[in-house]
């Protein structure tokens, strides 16, 4: 489960692209672009403690929101970037290993997965 959320507004984020499951000497930043109603890449593999930043390039607003019981029951148990207008970005830090499936709540056909590996695995 992610433990920190950091919203960044604007186009200023300059983050290194992810090299999935590469050797880690500390937390890394990863980037997922939202373009043409898709998460790019749709699947990303990171290490516990890493952060992922979603940046929306579409005219339509999007979200990156954890799937699961929390969403279906309306409970606030999952992570959520919130609405991202064009050019906006939001960062989520993942501390717990596991498979984190997510979607855009506005356009549910848009789906993705963040796979979090143990930090020292």
């Amino acid at each position: 489960m992610p433990t920190r959320r950091d919203m960044m507004r604007g186009l200023g984020a300059s983050l290194a692209l992810a090299a999935a499951a590469r050797a880690h000497d500390g937390p890394h930043e990863h980037e997922v672009r939202i373009a043409r109603f898709a998460f790019l890449p749709a699947r990303i593999v990171i290490r516990a403690g890493d952060s992922v930043t979603w940046t929306n390039g579409d005219a339509a607003p999007h979200t990156a929101t954890a799937r699961g019981e929390g969403r279906e029951t309306g409970q606030e148990t999952g992570w959520d970037t919130g609405a991202l207008a064009k050019g906006e970005a939001a960062r989520i830090t993942f501390d717990t290993p596991g498979e984190h499936a997510y979607l855009c709540t506005y356009h549910p056909h848009m789906t993705g997965t963040v796979t979090v590996l143990p930090r020292d695995g």
Binding site: D58, A59, A60, P61, K86, Y106
Partner: protein, 183 residues
């Protein structure tokens, strides 16, 4: 022409499809459109879909329909806001035109038709209209408007908007199927 429009609420969009699909339509001087007219019609099409969506929110009790309507309001508002910013940046004024007026008239007729419906009948009327509306508008934007515009920023905006509108068309198709409105 007017009486035909009233008999068929989607007639205005048939005009749009005609523009998109046939050389005869494209060659009709009365239907030739400049950049400012294209901008006006594209904006109008989005604004009309927002009005359909507010009607759906007022009438429908279907979660799927309401979610779709909220998405239409959110997305078309974003696209039209971008259009507004572009118009301000270019310091131009979009021009009303025959197609915009036909769209407005056709949508008014369609809304009047839908306002007489409730429940599943309304949901299916809304869903099938959304599918038809996006299908025809998308064809017009792709095949007629984008090739015709001469201002690059407007073309970029239309291309970007088309991505959104095509997602809406697919979404509407799923909604029609999920509601059991086919046939």
């Amino acid at each position: 022409m007017t009486s035909t429009l009233r008999k068929s609420p989607l007639h205005a969009l048939a005009v749009a499809a005609c523009l998109a699909a046939t050389a005869a339509c494209a060659d009709d001087p009365a239907l030739a459109m400049n950049d400012l007219e294209i901008a006006h019609t594209a904006y109008t099409a989005g604004a009309l879909d927002i009005r359909y969506a507010y009607l759906a929110l007022a009438v429908s009790e279907s979660a799927a329909v309401r979610e779709f309507a909220e998405t239409m309001i959110r997305d078309h508002s974003a696209v039209n806001a971008a259009a507004g910013r572009l118009v301000a940046e270019l310091e131009v004024t979009p021009q009303d035109n025959l197609m915009s007026r036909k769209l407005v008239a056709g949508a008014a007729d369609k809304r009047a038709e839908m306002m007489a419906l409730t429940g599943q009948a309304f949901d299916c009327a809304y869903a099938t209209n959304e599918l038809a509306y996006h299908r025809l508008v998308n064809g017009t934007v792709a095949d007629r408007f984008i090739p015709a515009v001469t201002v690059a920023p407007l073309r970029d905006l239309l291309e970007e908007a088309l991505v959104t509108f095509r997602a809406h068309e697919a979404h509407a198709g799923h909604m029609v199927a999920a509601l059991g409105c086919n046939g």
